[in-house]
Structures are given as C-alpha cells and as structure tokens.
C-alpha cells in the first residue's frame, strides 16, 4: 500500500477533542482544571471590577477628591500626572521636543529590526542619524531651540536615552573586548579575561556608583564630562562585558575551517574579522543578543539609585505629593505597563528571530 504525505502526518483532530485532551484527559485533570477556573474567577472578577468597572477614569477638576470613597482604581492620577511620568522635569513648553525625540528613537529601534538594514554601514548610519536627531532635539542650541542640559532630562525619554546610548557605546566596546579576549597574544587575552570577569561579578549599581563618584577623583579635569555621560559610560562598560561573552560564544560556534579558509586565501586579520568571523558570530549570537538587550532595558531602572529622574523615579514623584499618595498601586501599574510593552515586544521579536533562524538551518 502506498503512503502519501497526508497519511504520515498526525491526524488533525477537532478543536473539542484537542481541548478535551489538554484540559480533561484524566479525572485528576478535570479536578485541576475546575479548581484553576474557580481560583482564576475568584481572583480575576474583583481585579477586573477594580481596574475597569468601578474605576475612576478622569478628574474634571484635576484634584484627587473624585477618588475619595471609590472602590475601584483611581486612573485619574495618570490623567493628572502622565506628563511628569513620561517627560520628567523637562520644561513644560518644550515637552513637544521630548515627545518627538522619544518617537524618533523608538522608530529608529523599530527600523533596525528590519533585515534590510542589517549591514554594518546601514545600521550604523541609521543609528547615527537617529541618535543625533534625538540629541539635537533634546539639548537644543540650534535652530533657535533653547538649550536644555542633560541634567534636566527625565522620565521615559531619559530611560530610552540611557538604553540607546549604553548599547551604542557598549556594542563597539563589546566587539573589541571579545576580539581581545580571543587574541592569540597571551598577555592581552589574559588581562581582558580578568577585566571581563571582574566587571561581570560586580553588581551594576556599584559600577554606576563608581562612575558617578570615583571617576571624578581619578580622571583629569578635561576628561570628566557631565555626570550623565560618566554613568552612561559605566552602563556601557557593564553591557559590553556581558555582550563580549555573547559574541565570543557566537565566534566559538563558527567552524574553524571558515577562518582557516580565509587565511588560505591570503586575507589579513582585519578582513578575516570583519568579513568572515563577525558576520557569522552575530548571526549565531542574535537571539542571545536580543535577550541581552531585554535585560539591559530593565537594568536602566537602576539609574534611579544614582539619582537620575528616569521613568521609575518620576513615577515615584507622581504619587509622592500629598493628594495622590493613596494611588501608588495605579502609578506602579502604569509604569510597569510601560516597561512591559517595551520589554515584551523585544522578547517577542527575539523569539520570532530564533524561529526564523531555525527554519533557515533545515
């Protein structure tokens, strides 16, 4: 008897049957499913009531009195304070600049997810243009825009700035670190290994703290720069130490024949690294790199400890004043939602890339 492909595939069962298999296969499964539904209803119904049905959505007079004695959530606090959370203490009349700058950076990040941009030249050009536009808009000083120093930046814009600047400075550093660690010169590779492992075993907070407090002691005056840039540098160094290991693992996954073939063709070190090793290493390490981006985005929230006014700090300030102090849960949920949107979409993209690459290998 001949078998066709259709025969060898598992039979497509009806939805009802599949559901029954997943939820009600054995008596124990029935008990577990029923119990989970009851517990979920017990938790979710009051939660839905609190977040949506009994909630206060706006405060027409702009003060907190509408929320007194209300059972549900007081989302009016977000309506009253969203500017503080998103823009921090950026001057009120100039907040349009902050919002355009934010959009520019987000669009740049989204564009760099498109494979058409995945060459060194295009990607670096895209980010240089995007970042320069962001910086000019935020700092001003040209086209008649007033100068706003980085110390006055804040809110979500500052968080996104830290993330982008940390990765932009950190990525070239990571490539250098990885190549130095893989160098055949023993002194260089050993020293680099000690530096990378040292940075990796320290908490990020201590590195940021060092960058903010110690660097002014040990750097000559002309190199110190603003506190924000020193902290960005510390952040980039921390990212680079982790990313260097990611790139190194990507390099180690390349068959050694690739490098040997390039040598046999008479390519020099620079050509071998930029044309043969790094492109393949980045391809191998892409999912891990995205994962590193996810972690880095969440870690920008630590700058709050060094005294920067990022989205978390401005969230704290949003409910910190007397009248809204009862609405801390609402503000934290809103800030958490902002982080969630950024981080979750990044990790979904990472999962998509991983699936796509697995298809390519078969």
């Amino acid at each position: 008897m001949q078998t066709t492909i259709a025969d060898s595939l598992p039979p497509q069962r009806a939805l009802g049957k599949r559901l029954r298999k997943r939820f009600f296969r054995t008596p124990l499964d029935v008990v577990i499913t029923v119990a989970s539904v009851v517990v979920a209803a017990y938790v979710l119904i009051p939660l839905l009531d609190w977040t949506i049905f009994s909630a206060v959505w706006s405060a027409p007079e702009g003060d907190a009195s509408v929320c007194h004695g209300v059972e549900g959530a007081c989302w009016a606090v977000i309506e009253a304070r969203w500017r503080l959370i998103i823009f921090g203490l950026f001057p009120y009349e100039e907040q349009w600049r902050s919002s355009i700058a934010l959009v520019v950076l987000v669009v740049t990040a989204i564009l760099s997810c498109v494979p058409a941009f995945w060459t060194v030249l295009r990607l670096s050009l895209l980010w240089i243009v995007g970042f320069a536009a962001f910086y000019l808009l935020m700092r001003g000083g040209i086209f008649g825009l007033s100068v706003i120093e980085p110390s006055e930046w804040g809110g979500l814009t500052l968080t996104v700035f830290f993330f982008a600047a940390g990765i932009l400075i950190g990525m070239p550093m990571a490539i250098c670190f990885a190549m130095m660690r893989r160098s055949t010169l023993p002194v260089i590779s050993r020293t680099m290994a000690v530096i990378i492992d040292g940075v990796r075993s320290l908490p990020l907070v201590t590195i940021l703290f060092t960058a903010a407090l110690i660097l002014p002691f040990v750097l000559p005056g002309w190199l110190q720069g603003d506190k924000i840039w020193r902290v960005v540098f510390g952040f980039a160094l921390f990212f680079a130490a982790y990313q260097a290991e990611v790139i190194r693992s990507g390099i180690q996954a390349i068959p050694s024949g690739q490098d040997e073939a390039a040598k046999a063709l008479g390519m020099g070190y620079f050509h071998r690294v930029t044309r043969i090793t790094l492109p393949q290493a980045f391809r191998n390490a892409l999912p891990t790199t995205i994962n590193q981006f996810v972690i880095t985005f969440k870690e920008t929230s630590l700058i709050v400890i060094i005294g920067f006014f990022d989205v978390l700090a401005s969230g704290n300030a949003a409910y910190g004043t007397g009248e809204w102090s009862f609405a801390y849960v609402e503000v934290y949920i809103f800030v958490a939602l902002i982080y969630f949107v950024f981080v979750f979409s990044l990790s979904l993209y990472g999962a998509y890339l991983e699936r796509r690459m697995r298809v390519g290998q078969h």
């Binding site: 260089i188 908490p203 750097l219 969440k298 982080y339």
Partner: protein, 388 residues
C-alpha cells in the same frame, strides 16, 4: 631596518603585548596619581584607619548587634551579614517558586500551563527594582499594629513589619542545630555515594539511618540547652503601640524577599523547563520500554539528566540574584551597598569603601560559582551518554 623588524612575527607580537601592558599600567598609574593629588588637595586622609572609628549613627535593621558607638568595620560587617541573609532567603524562595512554576509548566494540563505562562511573562518583563518598590509600598500601607491583620493565627501583618511566632531558642544554638542537621545530610549523602549499587545494601541503609538519627538527636539536645525562658514558642503580642516577642520581619526585608522570589522564580522556572525539555525523548521512551514506572522515569532518568543541563545556567542565575540584593538601597534595607554608601557620605573615604565593596562582592560571587561549579564537575557525565 624598521621594516624588517615589522615583518618579524615574534617581534610584532612581543611589541603589541608590551604596548598593551604599558598603556594599561600608564592608565592605572596616572589615575592613582590624580587621585592622590585630589585627595591631598581636599585635605582628606586616606588609608583604612577609619574602620576603627565609631560611626555615631544608627541604621534600620541588623541581624548582628549594632549600636551608634560601634565602629565602621562593624557597620560593614552588619551590611555583609544582611546581604547574605537577603541573598540566602531570596535564592531559596526563588528556587522554590521556580520549581513549583516549572512543574506546572511541564505538566500536560492546559490550565496549569496557562497560569504558569501568565505568571512568567508578567513577572519577568517588569524590572526587579520596580517590583521591590511596589511591594515595599504595599508593606508600608498595611494597617498599623493596633489594627493588625492576623492572616494565620499568631502571624500579624502590619505596616511595621510581619510578626511571626518563633521557637524560643537562642540564635547561636538554633544556627548550630541547623548546621548539625546539614552535616548529617551531607554525611548520609557521602555514605550513599560510597555504595556503588543502584539499590543500596542493608549495611549502607543502616549506616545512613544511624547518622541521620544522631544528627537529629544532637540538634534537639542543642536546642534544649539553648532554650530561653517562656513557652516552647515565643508568640508576638500587642503591647501598647507595637508587638513584643516573636520574630519581626521588617517591611524592607519582606518586600525585597517577595520581589526577588517572584522575579527570580520566573527566571528559574524557565531554566528548569529548558533543562527538562533538553532531555531527549528517547531516554524517556527507553525507560518506558524497560518497564519503569512514571515516578522511576522521573527520578532515575529525567531528573539526573536535566540537572546536568540546568546547573551551569542556574549558577549564573544565582550569582545574578545575589548581585540583585544591592537594590536594597532603593527601599532602605541596610545591606552592604547601603552601609557602604552611608559610610561614604559620613566618613568621606570614598576610594577605600568602594574598594571594600567590590572585593566583598568578588569574593562572595566567586564563592557561589566555585561551589556550584565543583558540584557541576563532580556530577558531569563522561563521554556522550546524553546523546539520544
């Protein structure tokens, strides 16, 4: 001449390395010189003499004795002890949470899968510090002691902390008892390992039982000697404006512990899941073909293979969680980083204190990875047995 030298591989290699070293030493040296200059300019003293000076201020929470007359050295010791306490509680709680969620995720029941997936996605995608601040706000917004919530009999939730009943035993004796029990468990494990058979012989089983019984007995004797006055348990009681007796968990510690447990648990559950999924299906099928029961397949086939895939990633996660204790400063928990940063503002010995902080973390983190890497080496499979 120069060109010929540049063509000489050995010379180029030696030259590059020497230049690298010279640059590094130059950077460090000039940094130190500038630091020396700015310190003398500002008229600050340097050196570690300040460690013996008394601090003159009080801090929130400490598990070892501390008062304002104590020295800076003592203060840093308090911070280290608090960091280790939080680290241990956090790692244990996160592991338990992670194990539970991973088991739900690995089960074939669809509703358990859905619950655990939702949990992981929510708690993994929100920064830890935000979760810590959230739980801290929740903890401090609990009712004051007079209207305390009694969740379980004799357990009180208040804005001043969580009050728990505790065994009426001196701290040193209680720790000693825990140590004796742990030593007994390790000894039992060693006895089991020395018997190579799959089913231990009667002699091994008896030896194991004797060791464990002896350990439990020793622990009980220790606890009986260290008994304090009062009943078997010390219960928290409301006296005036606050609770007396029992064990007080300050809101800072409980908020951080909950946050680390939930955040770390989400990560650990994913690590465990990946570990179990990495065990080839052929291994389970072979176990079934040999007539092993479900439980036996889990204990003797899947678990041992999964542990070997899990341990290296888990080591990194534990080191990460331990480092995460530094955000205690955000809620005012007096951990090592917190005590160092107050000491810096109070004494001005910035360089020395940051040096101590970094050394302490290097030592503690390397200790964690050293121990776990040794375990990993000890249980490593030789050859290619994991291939399906």
């Amino acid at each position: 001449m120069v060109l010929r030298l540049l063509r000489n591989r050995k010379f180029v290699r030696a030259f590059l390395q020497a230049a690298f070293l010279a640059a590094l030493i130059g950077m460090i040296g000039s940094g130190l010189m500038i630091a020396h200059e700015s310190i003398t300019q500002q008229g600050m003293s340097s050196g570690f003499g300040f460690l013996e000076r008394s601090t003159g201020f009080n801090i929130g929470f400490s598990i070892i004795d501390y008062d304002p007359n104590a020295s800076y050295g003592r203060l840093l010791l308090v911070g280290t002890a608090n960091t280790i306490l939080l680290g241990v509680i956090g790692i244990v709680a996160a592991s338990l949470t992670g194990l539970m969620v991973a088991m739900m995720r690995l089960s074939e029941n669809g509703s358990l899968n859905a619950i655990s997936r939702t949990y992981v996605e929510i708690f993994r995608n929100v920064p830890l510090i935000l979760q810590a601040l959230f739980w801290y706000s929740v903890m401090t917004h609990l009712p004051p002691p007079r209207q305390a919530l009694e969740a379980v009999p004799h357990v009180f939730l208040t804005s001043r902390g969580i009050f728990l009943p505790v065994l009426n035993v001196g701290v040193a004796y209680a720790l000693g008892a825990v140590g004796v029990i742990l030593a007994g468990l390790v000894a039992a494990m060693i006895i089991r390992r020395r018997d190579v058979r799959a089913v231990p012989s009667r002699k091994t089983r008896n030896a194991r039982r004797t060791v464990l019984a002896a350990a439990v007995l020793c622990a009980l004797i220790l606890m009986a000697t260290g008994r304090l006055e009062g009943g078997l348990f010390s219960l928290p009681e409301l006296r005036g404006l606050n609770f007396r007796g029992g064990l007080t968990v300050p809101p800072e510690l409980s908020a951080l512990a909950i946050a680390i447990a939930l955040y770390g648990g989400a990560y650990i559950s994913e690590i465990l899941r990946a570990g179990f999924n990495s065990v080839p299906k052929g291994q389970t099928e072979a176990g079934r073909a040999l007539g092993l029961s479900q439980g036996q397949i889990f204990r003797r086939v899947r678990l041992p293979l999964a542990i070997r895939a899990i341990l290296p990633t888990l080591t990194n996660q534990y080191v990460w969680l331990f480092k995460a204790t530094t955000l205690g400063i955000a809620v005012g928990y007096s951990d090592l980083f917190y005590t160092v940063s107050i000491s810096i503002t109070q004494s001005g010995q910035t360089l020395e204190l940051i040096g101590i902080l970094m050394m302490a973390f290097l030592i503690m983190n390397n200790a964690i990875s050293f121990v776990l890497n040794r375990i990993n080496k000890a249980i490593e499979l030789k050859g290619n047995q994991t291939r399906s």
